[in-house]
Symmetry: C2
Subunit: 328 residues, 2 copies
Amino acid sequence: MASIAVIGAGAVGGYYGALLARAGHDVRFLLRSDLETVRARGLDVRSVQGDFRLPVVAAFATPDEIGPVDWVICTLKATALADARELIRPCLGPRTRILALMNGLGIEDQFAAWFGGDRVFGGMAFVCINRGGPGVIHHLEYGRVSIAHYRDDEAELDALRELLESGGIEAGVAPNLLYARWEKLCWNIPFNGLSVAAGGVGTQTILRDKALRSVAEQAMQEVTAVGNADLAAAGSTARLDGDEVVRRMFALTDTMGDYRTSMLIDFVLGRTLEVEAILGEPWRRAEALGVTAPTIGTLYALVRAADQRGRGLMRGLGPEDVRQAPVV
Amino acid sequence: MASIAVIGAGAVGGYYGALLARAGHDVRFLLRSDLETVRARGLDVRSVQGDFRLPVVAAFATPDEIGPVDWVICTLKATALADARELIRPCLGPRTRILALMNGLGIEDQFAAWFGGDRVFGGMAFVCINRGGPGVIHHLEYGRVSIAHYRDDEAELDALRELLESGGIEAGVAPNLLYARWEKLCWNIPFNGLSVAAGGVGTQTILRDKALRSVAEQAMQEVTAVGNADLAAAGSTARLDGDEVVRRMFALTDTMGDYRTSMLIDFVLGRTLEVEAILGEPWRRAEALGVTAPTIGTLYALVRAADQRGRGLMRGLGPEDVRQAPVV
């Protein structure tokens, strides 16, 4: 049994951490808003694969209380990346491994720069999950984690896969980290982007509206083109097949129900959006690689504008705001 | 002096009609919501070029009361095009000419089919204008009208130019109708589109935000490409110069102040948007001509989604809406 620190235990960290704790691992959760509730009542997972409760959970307010562990699973929002260094460091021993289970490009590069690349992994969770309330996690669909090691070390990957599978988590090894990141972006860019840019819509609205669906496809094709150029520039021979990705991602999304993406939820709750990790950084890669990506650029600009204006953007704007004083 | 029916006298019709009435023409306004106010108090134009009042205005509730005139100036919203036939017909005599001072592609084709092409003109108003209240028009900037005749008849164009100039309205003759329409769309597609798609922003926000500005440029370049393909397909040798258009349109917009586009105003006031005329029809032309226009397509899909969901799209969506019941 391993000791595991879950840093940033929102819905994703809470869910995967709970699965590992249920399997008997020593899982220590770093919590903020839900700390008292989880300490008092544990974690409640309402899952499509079967509900379960952890009545007693090791919940902490600071990483110093957690101390060194075998594994750190970092599930912070990409917007909190700057805080990750100080939150992870107290949990590191000489052999501690770190899994970045986060959105965005460039996360592992940052972790490798801070902590050394040999111990760094990336994980891409394909899962529909929400926080249902303090200490309550709603797991709606899927759950597979696509994993990669920063230096493509196969023995290390085996260790991570074994850990995840011991908790009943389906783990797939990606051709490499960059491939896995771009593959995840094939979903995140169109669906997270459109969910906010189209004014607050779930995935079924995007799929059923012919025009939105066509924009989602167009964005996905751009993501595979940029991703493949990025893979080639990095010397990798792995490639995403645009048409196959579109088919697969749309088939996945078709069975999701009217899922609200994490970006939409963040937007509605007035949180900072993961706009740079999911849209800005990929768009800058496209520019740097000379790949035209007008749809990614447009979604980036629109989601960024929404993020800057915040949730009140429509609420605050009334008829009185368009009655402009004449220029005199 | 000419008799003129202004059909659909919103801000644009009210403004140009008032200029012609001030010059002594017999201008008859078809009004709806402002009818009683305008009958009682006339029209009040607060203009960057000098305020003026028309204390007595010929205002009517039906086109039958207006009767046949020399000129019909149709300033209906493109969304009301289906009503135009019945509203214009009572104003037609055998020699009545019709100027479509409206947004969108294909308007004059429709008018020509209904009334014969010899009498049909198109006008593209480059003007910043708002309704300030019942019977009150705010003219903020510009005012030039670019005109074309459905059959490129030069003598007819002289007649229209003389009419407009008699009212102090600057008129420029476009190379042809299709060119004029696409030139206007070079402004309307990026700025009307982004003003709504970015969540309710004025033109200065678009110009000052690097990402939005770059999307506006990208959209404008796509519009010139589609417009030029459309001109070529129609056998015209006229061409829009993408870089010149971008420079000119941005220079125009730079001096506008934080202008709220007509589409944004419609959106905030809960009116139907001119989404098909300004975005949908150009996008379908692009598809038919085989010109890639991903930015136009994206703006079309997003504005269409906003139009369908209406102004409440953000207001109504609260934290309770993202707390999804788990799938069981």
